[in-house]
């Protein structure tokens, strides 16, 4: 492969990984607080829709703000059910997914009619960083991307620091591992989970926002296309750590980029094999990562606080 081909492949890798990394970093924080948000799909699509409306009204920045807000609104419904009412997380998540997909479809229909929004949404293009952007191979992938990709680099560090180097992060992890112990230490598990779910909503919203404003430049009813589920898988693959999640998102991005490349190069294999590649590679990576992996002990436990 030529230098250029590798560069393009890496660019596609980072582009594909970016929205996934947002959603997965949010989900990471949510899961570390003991909540499994299967409703992430609904949050992402809400973010995408928010971005469409916001960007249409006030430009790309407004689009991202609206995406975050939309994600948080859906997330707050989820939080109300699983934290306040202590309903089953998986059923609630399933319903929230459906709700997100449905409600955005409804609003889309109301605001844009049956003809849709087409490609008139403002978008953000790549912002090339001088010198770095011209580096061979990785220049395009790492330093000629939209701003949202750059924002991700410090975000990974920030999430890592928050979880591992702050008292609040410690409290959040304790809630995910053993809420009774957290309570005994004077921490309110409900409050922690509410906040983490809202954060997850904001990040899921950004995932949707990225899809619309930095990538597709449009909205379609199923545009989240299973990314919520993939993000949850990425959290597991990344072993519930910020750096691991970033790596897993990149791995998934790379596998997808390879898939695009395989098809574009006309490699002689059925296209379904190409499409299955990211999933198979993830499995192989997991099998290669032998060893003890444990989810947060109180994950998906809805009786957590009733000691």
């Amino acid at each position: 492969m030529s230098n250029n081909a590798i560069g393009l492949f890496l660019e596609a890798t980072v582009r594909t990984a970016t929205p996934l990394a947002y959603a997965a970093l949010g989900e990471l924080v949510v899961e570390r607080s003991g909540v499994l948000n299967i409703g992430l799909e609904g949050i992402i699509i809400a973010g995408a829709f928010g971005a469409l409306v916001g960007a249409g009204a006030g430009g790309a920045t407004a689009g991202f703000v609206a995406a975050v807000c939309a994600g948080m609104i859906i997330a707050s419904i989820f939080a109300f059910f699983v934290v306040t009412l202590k309903s089953d997380q998986i059923i609630s998540g399933t319903a929230i997914s459906m709700f997100g997909l449905g409600v955005t479809g409804v609003l889309y229909k109301i605001l844009y009619g049956t003809t849709g929004a087409a490609l008139h949404t403002p978008t953000v293009g790549p912002l090339v960083i001088p010198f770095l952007g011209d580096l061979p191979w990785v220049g395009g992938a790492l330093f000629a991307q939209p701003v949202v990709t750059y924002a991700l680099y410090p975000l990974v560090v920030a999430v890592w620091c928050f979880l591992n180097r702050s008292a609040a992060g410690l409290a959040l992890r304790a809630v995910g591992e053993r809420p009774e112990a957290a309570r005994a230490a004077g921490i309110s598990p409900s409050r922690v989970q509410w906040i983490s779910i809202l954060f997850g909503g904001a990040m899921g919203g950004l995932c949707g926002g990225t899809l619309v404003i930095a990538q597709a430049g449009t909205f379609a009813e199923g545009i989240s296309a299973g990314r919520g589920v993939i993000a949850i898988a990425i959290v597991v693959l990344g072993r519930w750590t910020a750096v691991g999640v970033a790596g897993a998102a990149l791995l998934f991005g790379a596998a997808s980029a390879l898939q695009y490349l395989a098809q574009a190069k006309g490699w002689p294999l059925p296209y379904q094999f190409s499409l299955a590649l990211p999933y198979v590679l993830t499995l192989v990576a997991l099998a290669g990562l032998r060893g003890r992996v444990a989810a947060p002990a109180a994950l998906a436990r809805s009786d957590a606080e009733s000691i």
Binding site: N4, A5, L8, A12, R15, T16, P19, G105, Y108, K109, Y112, T114, T115, G116, A118, L119, T123, G125, L211, Q215, A216, G217, T218, F219, A220, E221, G222, I223, A225, S256, A257, Y260, L261, Q263, A264, K265, G266, Y271, Q272, L275
Partner: protein, 307 residues
């Protein structure tokens, strides 16, 4: 949305689509057809979006039981269910757009999508500078495959040495993945891309908007307005027209179960160059296209052997 004047008639028409009607393509076109039947023929209409074969049959049966006169299953995938249900409800006429199954009260509409696809291919083959032309589909369905084959024949007629790349996105909604597939093909040198991916195809237009000197050809609906600056034209199926043809027959009682082939001559399928980009296609190419089209109208056109 709700039917307003139901009193006038008991001409009831139903439509089953496999995807959302906001896709500005296959499904949106069919819904426009249904609306035209409602407005022009005063029919009472019903629409349901349903994707799984198990439900096709159930819904066909319900429409039959509820006295619908005409039921469209929008896609070849509906034909098995239609064949099973049609004999049970002889008073209801079942039409599938695609497929070949027919019966007393069952018809299949075939679109000679190959002819305009050939013309589009001819344009693409003439316009390409790199000699590399791409096709991007949602999933590999018979009409999509047939259209790509005819397109390929057209490209080779204009430019025998051209290379054709074919990629499938794997679904019809993921506009972001559609864009990545397009970027991967552009990375391989493609400078004209023929897309047939409904909502996901919007991403293909977006990719071209962000790249220099890449043109897109749309499918199914007139997609010339989606991204007028990069669209060469659209291979159009005038679904409202096609639906009206059948609905009139049914309403007037002249309908016979048969294979209804709709071609260039019926003006249901046609190649529509983008009027806002008149200079993109050289005049001599346009002339050649018109002369080939004339042979089609005269039913003298012979498709070159498809590889």
């Amino acid at each position: 949305v709700a039917p307003k004047n139901e009193a006038s008639t008991n001409f009831k028409v139903a439509l089953l689509t496999p995807g959302p009607i906001s896709d500005q393509s296959w499904n949106g076109g069919a819904y426009a057809g249904l609306m035209r039947i409602k407005d022009s023929l005063g029919a009472e209409v019903s629409h349901i979006q349903t994707k799984t074969p198990a439900e096709f049959e159930q819904n066909f049966r319900q429409y039959g039981a509820n006295g619908y006169t005409l039921v469209f299953g929008h896609g070849f995938e509906f034909q098995d269910a239609a064949s099973r249900v049609a004999p049970e409800f002889p008073k209801t006429i079942y039409i599938t757009t695609g497929g070949t199954a027919t019966g007393v009260n069952q018809a299949a509409m075939g679109f000679s999508f190959g002819q305009p696809s050939f013309l589009a291919g001819f344009v693409a083959g003439s316009v390409t500078k790199s000699g590399i032309v791409g096709c991007i589909g949602g999933t590999e369905l018979p009409p999509v495959k047939a259209s790509f084959a005819a397109f390929t024949a057209g490209v080779h007629t204009a430019n025998p040495k051209a290379t054709i790349l074919v990629s499938y996105i794997g679904n019809w909604d993921d506009a972001s993945a559609g864009k990545e597939q397009a970027l991967a093909q552009i990375g391989q040198g493609a400078d004209v891309i023929f897309q047939n991916a409904d909502a996901a195809g919007l991403g293909v237009f977006q990719a071209a908007k962000q790249t220099h000197d890449v043109f897109i050809i749309g499918s199914n609906a007139d997609q010339n307005n989606i991204a007028p600056s990069v669209t060469l034209g659209s291979v159009l199926i005038d679904l409202p027209r096609a639906f009206m043809l059948v609905a009139r027959e049914v309403k007037s009682g002249t309908f016979k179960g048969r294979m209804i082939q709709l071609d260039t001559k019926t003006d249901v399928v046609r190649w529509v160059p983008n009027p806002s980009l008149p200079s993109a296609i050289p005049v001599n190419v346009t002339q050649r296209v018109d002369s080939i089209r004339a042979t089609m109208l005269a039913e003298q056109f012979v498709m070159p052997p498809l590889s």
